[in-house]
Amino acid sequence: MEQELKPELQIRKVKGPDGVEFEVEPLRDYYCEALPTVQHGAYIQIVEDFFNWARSHSLWILGFGTGCGAIEMRPLMTPRFDAYRYGIQWRPTPRQANLLVISGYLSVKTLKRAIRAYEQMQSPKYVVGLGSCTINGGMYWDSYNTIKRLDDYMPVDLYIVGCMPRPEALLAGFEDLKKLIRAGKAEGANQYAEKFDWYKSNQKRVIHDWDMPDYSW
């Protein structure tokens, strides 16, 4: 499905402030073309276990509220539930985060952003789907603008059910995620790299104006 690119993404000539003309090819300039690769852990198992332990106790959540679920994130970071004491913190940029919480439904437009945020995170990275909407469409199962099953678009490590899931349920979910990480079972990033084509074709099926590179990191 070839589409006409937006004007700002097309190859064009630009005149710089110093008067020199040069050609820009935005897609090539802004993004990298290299596809994700499977990243192996440390060679020595005990080192990898040690790292996994550290990863599990230092979950940095990307502060991206994709849907309703964002409303229960604030109680989590504030006195009542205080997730900080469990080693959970919020980071404002995807680069520094290693846990993407898809809080509720994803509209197609947000899916695009969520994919980019996910791809910009550094591996190992984890995804937690929050609420019914990420499991099977939830309330919006017949809406034309939401995705129904998050699993098709990015590898999800854990689902927390509820609409909304209470903060207590979220904490329980994060505790479960910690166990998965410690057991070395949370290898979503590698799964994404292995089944990259499948994920991409799913993503392209719902995002009709696909005008971004296949992989952006």
């Binding site: 964002a70 409303i71 604030r74 504030t78 009542r80 509209s107 309330m139 609409c163």
Partner: protein
Amino acid sequence: MALYTPDRSQYPAKKADGTLDIDLASGKYLKLWQGPNHPGITGNMSVELTVCGDEVVEGKTHVGYLHRGFEKLMERRSFIQCFPIVCRICVPEPDFNEYCYAAAVEDLSGIQSPERANWMRALILEMGRINSYLMYLGGQAGALGLGVIGQWTTYARDLMLDRFEEMTGARIYHMFILPGGVRDGLPDGFDQRMEETLREIESTMKDVHDVMFHNAVFKKRTVGQGVIDPAWLDQYGVTGPNARAAGVAKDVRRDQPYLVYRELEFEPVIGHDSDIYTRSDVRRRDLLMSVDLIRQILAKMPRSGPLIADMPSMLHWKIPRGETYVRGECSRGEYGYYLVTDGSGFPRRVNVRGPSYTHAMALLERMIVNINISDVAALMVSLHTYPPEIER
């Protein structure tokens, strides 16, 4: 020392058709996306800023990240099936949707909700208003880096959520106001626990007043910033605290009393300077007024009587042809539901008038021009908009 005045000579000239002449290739301007993945945005939306130095020359609100097509979804759900879905339109203050939808349906089907249910509804709406304002105050302080306020207010809000939970059975989406009445009465001992919560909220608000409103730096950042010109109020459809901060005593609760507001004593809170500081202050005082209203409601409300009117079987409930517009004053301004029925079991058309739409689209784009990038977050929060309500 002379005040800092930006150099406007390099600002974009206007083209003949009124659009700005912005040539990105000239290197003078920079496109900057504030959001959707950005801590300084009020939810999942984004503002596309064109900046020149530290000044914003153009801002465009991009929405659609939360669009679910509610109005369409409701057209293929029966009247009772619409009831759980409407509250999802506005996440931090969902009860208003439930009330407006129920009131519109009752209006068209000729059902009168019982007296006790009306008091319950007023109670839950005021509780929701307090929640919404607490959320706002934390956000407003947080947008300027005063994180501690957000900690306190979210705690107070959590206490209120506990009251919601024991009353309605859910924390966020209460789904309590059924068309025709409400689901349930107050649990035992609710009054006393509510009074404790209200006291806690009042003491929190006293702290907030000391730390946030009597704060040299907060005043420096907000006084005189982001002024809404009273002339814009009608032009942009500004309602609620945003309008009241400009000195216009608009309050649907007083102008067109609904539910039981005729029997309650209150006076709309107004401010005069219309800047960010005044808007926060108006909301703070409005919150305290809601605390007072809740006390009045609990003192006056009947404790026995039916909670729901005699309803036809909702499984095959048909409503005669008609149209109605129901309005109410939510924490952000006037909230309205326009409902058209065609005699079938499904609504023909539902249109939701959320105040966030006008505030976050037209007004924000107008006000964002010529302010510093650092102030964008504070300005956006001060308009108090909830993105899910903009795009539904």
